[in-house]
């Protein structure tokens, strides 16, 4: 009487576990028993991973937007050395992979004695990355403001910071809002790369789960729709924020 320890259940003589575990078998190369049910046990972990992804995205969006705006202003400013430095920073980010950036930051700082928590390192890397792209987008938006309006604002005696905020940045950001939010959604998707430095976001959780369950394909097939849901959630939030922030668009429904 062989007790099949794999089923762990009551001894059913001679029966081998019908649910397959582990890697594919040579016996039946084409047919594969998908088993998504086993993943249901792990839904709290998936939720926790998604929450970390959202937190990473939120922080990177806020800080990335702020730094990106400052860089856009600096890049168009009169101080040539600043504009050039920002230009170099942007080109470096745009021409190197995010994975290298995150490794450089995390392992580099660790080797210099600064062991950052992986969440912080991920946020910092994401902020530096998205800020570069945002600065280019916002810069393009600022270029669309007609110089005549700046002259009008100057002629009304407005100070430079006031002109920047009320006459240049506000319409610029309204104009490039779709491109900006698209960039933030892309950044949320690239947060999956942070799994490579063990940040516990959604992809890292999936990696862990598949190593427990051996259901690699199902696990990753399961998180794809989760990312789609996160992306939809993000787009919806940005749409709502856009309605609140841009009353002109809310009322007229036209592009600026």
């Amino acid at each position: 009487m062989v007790r099949s320890y794999r089923t762990g259940g009551t001894g059913q003589d001679g029966h081998v576990a019908s649910t397959r575990r582990g890697a594919a078998r040579q016996a039946d190369p084409v047919r594969y028993d998908f088993d998504f049910a086993v993943l249901l046990d792990y839904w709290p972990d998936f939720l926790a991973g998604a929450w970390v992804t959202l937190q990473l995205t939120f922080l990177a969006t806020v800080f990335g937007m702020a730094i990106g705006t400052l860089c856009a202003i600096g890049a168009r400013g009169k101080r040539r050395w600043l504009a050039r430095a920002i230009g170099i920073y942007v080109e470096i980010i745009r021409n190197t992979p995010f994975l290298i950036q995150i490794f450089f930051l995390y392992f580099g700082l660790a080797s210099a004695g600064l062991r950052l928590p992986v969440f912080t390192a991920a946020v910092i890397a994401m902020v530096f990355n998205v800020a570069a792209y945002c600065s280019e987008i916002i810069r393009a938006g600022m270029d669309t403001v007609h110089p005549g309006q700046i002259e009008a604002a100057q002629s009304l005696g407005m100070s430079t910071p006031t002109i920047y905020w009320d006459v240049i940045l506000r319409p610029a950001i309204e104009r490039v809002y779709p491109a900006l939010t698209g960039q933030f959604v892309l950044m949320m998707l690239s947060s999956s790369v942070a799994s490579q430095i063990s940040t516990e976001e959604l992809t890292a959780v999936a990696n862990n789960v598949q190593s427990f369950t051996f259901r690699s394909l199902e696990t990753f097939l399961a998180i794809a729709p989760m990312y789609l849901a996160l992306a939809a959630l993000l787009k919806l939030s940005f749409w709502g924020i856009g309605l609140l922030a841009f009353p002109r668009r809310r009322r007229l429904g036209t592009a600026l």
């Binding site: 005696g157 002109r248 007229l252």
Partner: protein, 254 residues
């Protein structure tokens, strides 16, 4: 019509240009422009394109820098060097209306008018709104306060631009070819607003192609040519131009 047709320069002109020179690189655009404008006077500047008339106007509120000469505006001195703070103080006393209106597209009409008073003069929200309503009423657009510029016609937008400048309660108003970009049937409403401002005693300098307006409303008209003041006179200048250049210019304008 004001009695000051050919008024001699009073002791303290509102605007005084002395030998103003300006160049864009090697190209000299103003070659020594001098004229005075008395308080309450309406002066029209006419001339062909390239005569420097818009440039001269833009020098008065500091949008263009000058290389030589001086400009006195309401007690402010504009020389070859000027600081940002000086310019801002100057621009609270001098309003300008542009050919392309330059309204802020992302703000409503009322917000366009209240923006500068709130930010620069730090007037409270309620007071700014009252001020805006008054200025918009002055140009006949009180009911459009909540519209956006793109919803208005060109003539209406230009009148909003005038209201926006008036809200800063300037002592001098500059008009830079404000009807040139408008369809002909829309120029009337803008010119009527300007005429009313003139009757109410505003000191105005307007660069214009509207000869009828200059003849009827301006106390004096300055004809500029080639970066210089060529001829100055009252309404009689149009009937009997002294210089041949003005004769041919007026002939071509008709």
């Amino acid at each position: 019509m004001s009695a000051a047709v050919n008024a001699p320069a009073v002791a303290l002109p509102a605007v005084a240009l002395k030998d103003v020179r300006k160049s864009y690189g090697p190209l000299e655009v103003l070659k020594g422009v001098s004229f005075d404008v008395a308080p309450g006077e309406v002066v029209a500047i006419i001339g062909a394109s390239g005569s420097g008339k818009s440039t001269a106007l833009r020098c008065i509120n500091g949008l263009e820098s000058i290389q030589a000469g001086s400009i006195e505006v309401c007690g402010h001195h504009v020389g070859t060097q000027r600081s940002d703070a000086e310019l801002r103080a100057l621009r609270q006393d001098v309003g300008i209306v542009f050919q392309s209106y330059n309204l802020f597209p992302h703000l409503t009409v009322e917000q366009n008018v209240t923006l500068a008073p709130r930010r620069v003069k730090r007037i409270g929200n309620a007071a700014a709104k009252d001020l805006a309503r008054a200025c918009l009423a002055q140009v006949g657009l009180a009911e459009k306060a909540d519209s956006y510029p793109e919803q208005l016609s060109g003539g209406q937008q230009q009148r909003v631009a005038i209201a926006r400048s008036l809200a800063m309660q300037p002592k001098v108003m500059l008009f830079d070819e404000v009807t040139s970009a408008l369809d002909p049937h829309l120029t009337g409403e803008v010119l009527r607003v300007m005429e009313k401002l003139a009757r109410d005693g505003m000191t105005m300098i307007t660069v214009t192609h509207e000869m009828g307006f200059a003849r009827r409303v301006a106390n004096r008209t300055i004809f500029m040519r080639d970066g210089l003041v060529w001829e100055v006179g009252g309404a009689e200048m149009f009937a009997a131009p002294r210089t041949p250049e003005l004769q041919s210019f007026l002939g071509s304008e008709l």
